[in-house]
């Protein structure tokens, strides 16, 4: 069984992901438990889930500046960012701050 990850999108981020605010995905076996990181997840999301405008989601190998990421309700900057090792049942939240206030 592959890793199960809960994804959430808000702040306008959901517009890039079929307007879905939440999605639970099971990752393919190429994601090795205890090895696969967020750095592997982002391009997979881009290639498999993103419905439009990849440049608004990623820049280089990371998220576009201005997108906040939370891992299990904590700022990803405290969790190693791209190096964070995915665990089964993790919840990862993407919030765009680029939309009007």
């Amino acid at each position: 069984m592959g890793l199960t990850i809960h994804l959430q999108f808000s702040g306008g981020m959901e517009l890039l992901f079929n307007n879905e605010k939440e999605k639970t995905v099971t990752l393919p076996d190429t994601f090795t438990p205890a090895l696969a990181t967020l750095k592997d997840l982002l391009p997979w999301m881009r290639d498999n889930l993103l419905s439009e405008r990849a440049e608004l989601f990623m820049q280089g190998d990371t998220v576009r500046p201005g997108i906040l990421v939370l891992i299990n309700d904590a700022d990803w900057e405290l969790e190693g960012e791209l190096e964070y090792v995915l665990k089964d049942d993790d919840t990862i939240v993407f919030i765009s701050t680029l939309h009007g206030g």
Binding site: S10, G11, G12, L15, R64, P65, G66, L68, L70, D73, A74, D75, E77, L78, V93, I95, S96, T97, L98, H99, G100, G101
Partner: protein, 351 residues
């Protein structure tokens, strides 16, 4: 698990962009609210008994501002009479939806809401303006009209003060834009936490030192209800580029935002700008001879823009308008030629 550097007890959930501190949820609420409180106190933004309108768009900043103003007013006993003030630009599929959020805020925070619309104030909705002028430059109209609309709404509510949700990122963006455009007059004014003229209701920005990241995190942790669809007419806006640039800088060095605000403040006194020079801390300006709104010219910017729209020359007042002025002069000349009696008005007040 990383522990909060402040309380040393709870799990840290946020790295503060301003300080790099790692803090837990409750310590975050405390420092976030206290910093806004300190900003309000140090700058003496309000007096006890003031009637204060919170400019509310339904977006993240104004939603968090309404929440924090309500919280601080209760906690510290400011004695403020709070109102929500919203502008309906008339943008179908954008503002109509976000106004629903503001209406929910009215219920949640028990603050009375007033909505003023471009349609009723100017006779033109943004949808109608865009039909006339197209997707480019329409933000010029919207910005000028919104500024006046807030003042007019505030006058209707008879408030003493308007607060807006502009945050540190917004102000840094504006500093960059004013530098890029060589607009030194605005560069001087844009970092002020409070605008004071003798003609209009004072405005202030309690979030001047608050990072957007923290506003969004605050809204997320508190589960505040906000609206986050981009304005459907804004994809061409110049601001978007300044914003992307600023976010790139922030990702390399988070202090860039505060640094740019400080740069803007430091430039303030270095460049002489002749118009609107403050006298005894107040800016003395004239008023528009058509609508009475404050203006350093004969007609205020909104009346110039409206005149263009109503005459079918909507580009009259934006950008390099020499060509359009010439066109307008030609039209006026032919109108005068048709109307022989000089006493008959031709739709334009004599100059």
């Amino acid at each position: 698990m990383r522990l909060c550097t402040l309380c040393q007890k709870e799990r840290a959930v946020l790295k503060r962009p301003k300080t790099g501190q790692q803090i837990c949820r409750n310590c975050f609420y405390a420092v976030f609210e206290t910093e806004v409180h300190n900003t309000i106190q140090e700058n003496e933004l309000f007096k006890r008994g003031d009637k204060v309108a919170i400019a509310a768009s339904g977006g993240k900043d104004s939603t968090v501002l309404a929440h924090v103003m309500t919280t601080l007013n209760e906690r510290y006993g400011y004695g403020l009479d709070l109102f929500l003030l919203s502008v309906d630009e008339g943008i179908t599929g954008y503002r109509d939806d976000s106004l629903e959020t503001v209406k929910r805020n009215e219920q949640q925070y028990k603050i009375p809401l007033k909505i003023v619309s471009y349609e009723e104030l100017y006779g033109w909705s943004m949808d109608a303006i865009v039909k006339e002028i197209g997707m480019k430059n329409n933000c010029t109209f919207c910005g000028v009209f919104r500024r006046q609309a807030l003042d007019r709404g505030a006058a209707l509510l008879q408030v003493d003060h308007i607060v807006t949700g502009h945050n540190a990122d917004d102000i840094a963006e504006t500093v960059l834009m004013n530098i890029l455009r060589g607009d030194f007059s605005r560069l001087q004014r844009c970092t002020a936490i409070r605008t004071a003229t003798n003609e209009t209701i004072p405005r202030s920005k309690p979030f001047k030192y608050t990072y957007e990241k923290e506003i969004v995190m605050y809204a997320y942790f508190k589960k505040l209800d906000y609206f986050s669809t981009e304005c459907i007419y804004s994809p061409n806006a110049y601001r978007g580029y300044a914003r992307a640039f600023l976010k790139d800088l922030e990702s390399i060095r988070p202090s860039a935002i505060m640094d740019i605000i400080h740069s803007g403040e430091a430039w303030e006194s270095k460049i002489e700008v002749k118009v609107n020079t403050p006298v005894d801390g107040r800016v003395i300006v004239g008023s528009c001879e058509r609508c009475g709104y404050m203006s350093s010219n004969k007609l205020c910017k909104a009346c110039v823009l409206l005149e263009g729209l109503n005459k079918g020359l909507p580009k009259l007042a934006i950008g390099n308008s020499t060509k359009y002025k010439r066109e307008q002069d030609k039209r006026d000349a032919s109108a005068r030629a048709r109307v022989c009696d000089p006493a008959t008005p031709s739709g334009r007040s004599p100059s």
